[in-house]
Symmetry: C2
Subunit: 487 residues, 2 copies
């Protein structure tokens, strides 16, 4: 395919994409295929000779679409939102064409595209200011902190845990010079909420350290007393607490750990506090939600996913650290070709992102942020958040008005946790009917041992009419379910 | 921006991308900016209100392009190639529009788009067959292995090391029940070549295990005797060898560790052998290069980057494991919402990629493979590899014909290591002149203590005329350098 054909096919693809998104709600949101369905639809080997573009593009509808869950359908209410917007897609096209791999790999420190790393640093400053992060997290203030784009919150959590691990090992060895690294590793304890995302526990597994789950209160949030009690017991048993991952907006119910009270304890005890606000973080650009981030000043690192709720297509997870040297220090290795004499100084933050993440190479993801920030403006982004929170309130009201149902957790952002009053089995049956109908898509969670349905406002194009329609659908299925003799 | 405006702007962007790539060789390949250049070109905060699209797109040339190293210029000869092709870009546009996040997160096992995971499994089978991988790596054979797309080779190496670590800990604890996990961790030793990529050592740092560098022979390859000697000394000292990362196509000189002799040793000694063929792996689709992969049958895992040399835009790193259970086992944690009863069986490989990688979410990257394989065909891809190897031979001949220069390592693939006969300083000065001229871009390496210039055939559009022009440029700068009084 040459440039001329790309011009033609590219424009056709733009129309295909626009058609898909304009008409997405006509498709059933949830696929109806059997595991392994795809293998039988295509050959077992790659073709020897090129096929025609027409044949390939025809197969998108034949092979791919039947197995797609349409995340951007206004009837998709599962998990949390996955961001999508036209400006971000345009930026991604440009990113693909530039195809520069952002890293600094050699003594020629600028080699791998300075624009890529520099725009990222400045965009994380823009975003940090939108969130009113304390100055210590903003690179442009010539402070000691700054931001970086990770692929996912999982990677941000892992990086923070590794940085904390390294710092703790050094601190312990400084006063106990006869401890080996593995002696210390065997004593380190990390903590997170029992409500935290599985990727937090996973980070501890990767890092080879023990992680304990802190019980949450009855609003599903971690409070300081419980963490303090666990830490004291562990210290008495000879263990070394070193890391706490707080969650702002938990996956099951969007609960907020009380970082205002947890932060001072962590600071006193030399515990690295990381804040995972993967979903809810986007909302902190609105002044009315910003108080939920109070206490971030105690954190060593903070992360949220613009690719969830800030109209920036996956993947783009924004992470800030208070001290760049902490995270760079997690990778003690310094081969010549990764070394730059000024790498820990303010100016050369532009060269060091290689040390801030697991992969060495990185795409030019900050272009998406730049396009979205400028083409929506802060007010446009705030309007998007507010609209989705308001839609969640609409759904909450509908549920509350129906005495057969109950709300299971406070509705603070775009997530409503609800259930039929009755057994877990009853609610499992309701969800099964919803899933089988394929018209809307929800996923469940467990709260206090109860099977709960999660209704998350996800698609950018979801309107009140879709919420009303979803609720009619749910109540119709409920009616049918309750008619059955077994109930 | 609505769909109608996206149709218009998207088509403009397609033309911008085609214009950029058609005219890329008119741009100086290397940027001329000072560190921090970008911050002063744009505001310090995001705009409150939306800006016009015209303003944003104008800034691409004003702000971004001056700081770009043009990786796809036919005058870019640095690092290794970063793949780029029009079919891959079209597939990425589709990927962005679908915006599905491939993972299985709940009891509804199909939820996150079955097409995403299933196409990936089948494409890795197609690719594995192109490479003539042993059947045990192919998922569709109902064997115990299969493939997964990682973001980068760094992540593949890390995953393999974590899997090996977990297996080793279990094995040691099975016979030494009084060993704690950290006791074992403190004794584990991993090995890799002194020529291996820094990401291998980094994987060991993350995993908290010791890694030792094995000296290479005078062709920069690791031989079995040296590894065996080191392992025996370590075992005698009470350590536990558990992992060896072989490189096929090292970063400095594209050397090939002798896996045919290393593999049997690793198998005998219960050492996990991972093969990192990040760059060279693509060439194994050509029968004449496939012998370099002989010995892969001894490996537990194998990885290479289609995003380097197989015309698939970054990121797309292909990884295969011989036993799925090994890599899944590295994450012992099994919360209900990630569990599926058949997850280790052949059929449900489609649900388990979440356990094969660091992030939970994943883009629909297999679309790029599907488009590229079908629109080039195996023969088209082979032709691309062969052409680039032939171009390297052209450059090698030019160097060999000039008695002032020497070739520093055997030219097997698309990389030529060369230098001026003389001091390291002389060669550093030559490279500085090349870099400062910005007309072509190379990076150096160290081989046997000597400063060496690497000339890698990178861009898809590089032709013999560009090689000739690059050589004229190098010899002109050499002439000027040697004229200077100091020489």
């Amino acid at each position: 395919m040459d440039a001329a054909e790309f011009r033609r096919r590219g424009k056709e693809m733009v129309d295909y994409v626009a058609d898909y998104l304009e008409n997405i709600e006509k498709r059933l949101v949830y696929p109806d295929v059997e595991p392994g369905y795809l293998r039988s639809l295509i050959p077992t080997e790659a073709p020897l000779e090129p096929e025609s573009y027409e044949d390939v593009i025809k197969d998108v509808e034949r092979v791919i679409m039947p197995g797609i869950t349409h995340w951007h359908s206004p009837y998709f209410f599962a998990y949390f939102s996955a961001a999508s917007s036209y400006p971000a897609m345009l930026a991604d096209m440009l990113c693909g064409a530039l195809g520069c791999i952002g890293f600094s790999w050699t003594v020629c420190v600028l080699a791998a595209s300075p624009a890529c790393t520099e725009l990222e640093t400045v965009m994380l400053d823009w975003l940090g200011k939108m969130l009113q992060l304390p100055e210590c997290f903003i690179a442009g203030t010539h402070g000691s902190g700054g931001g970086v784009i990770q692929g996912t919150a999982s990677e941000a959590t892992l990086m923070s845990l590794l940085a904390a691990r390294c710092k703790a090992i050094r601190r312990v060895q400084a006063t106990n010079s006869n401890y080996s690294e593995s002696d210390v590793l065997g004593k380190l304890v990390a903590y997170t909420s029992e409500q935290a995302h599985s990727s937090v526990e996973r980070a501890a597994l990767i890092g080879g350290v023990m992680m304990k789950q802190v019980p949450a209160d009855n609003s599903y949030a971690v409070r300081v007393d419980m963490l303090k009690k666990m830490m004291e017991e562990d210290k008495a048993a000879g263990l070394i607490p070193f890391y706490f991952c707080a969650t702002l907006g938990t996956t099951p119910s969007c609960a907020f750990d009380r970082i205002v009270e947890l932060g001072p304890l962590c600071n006193e005890e030399n515990i690295w506090m990381h804040i995972d606000a993967a979903y809810a973080g986007s909302a902190f650009i609105c002044p009315e939600f910003r108080p939920l981030l109070n206490g971030v000043e105690f954190a060593d690192s903070f992360n949220f996913n613009p690719h969830k709720w800030l109209l920036v297509n996956f993947d783009c997870s924004a992470m800030w650290v208070k001290k760049r040297t902490d995270i760079i220090g997690a990778f003690k290795m310094e081969p010549l070709y990764l070394k730059h004499e000024n790498q820990e100084s303010g100016r050369s933050i532009t060269f060091t992102h290689t040390h801030w993440q697991i992969p060495l190479g990185r795409r030019f993801r900050s272009l998406k942020l730049w396009f979205v920030f400028r083409l929506y403006g802060l007010q446009g982004l705030q309007a998007h958040i507010r609209k989705q929170v308001a839609l969640a309130k609409v759904f909450e009201s509908l549920v509350r008005a129906d005495k057969r149902f109950e709300i299971c957790a406070e509705v603070i952002m775009g997530l409503v946790c609800f259930r039929l009053k009755g057994s877990n089995e009853l609610n499992q049956n309701l969800l099964k009917r919803i899933t089988d109908s394929r018209e809307i898509h929800l996923v469940p969670c467990q709260l206090s041992g109860r099977f709960v349905l999660r209704f998350a406002i996800c698609a950018r194009t979801t309107e009140s009419s879709h919420i009303q329609q979803a609720w009619r659908h749910i109540t119709q299925l409920t009616f049918e379910l309750l008619q059955e003799p077994s109930h």
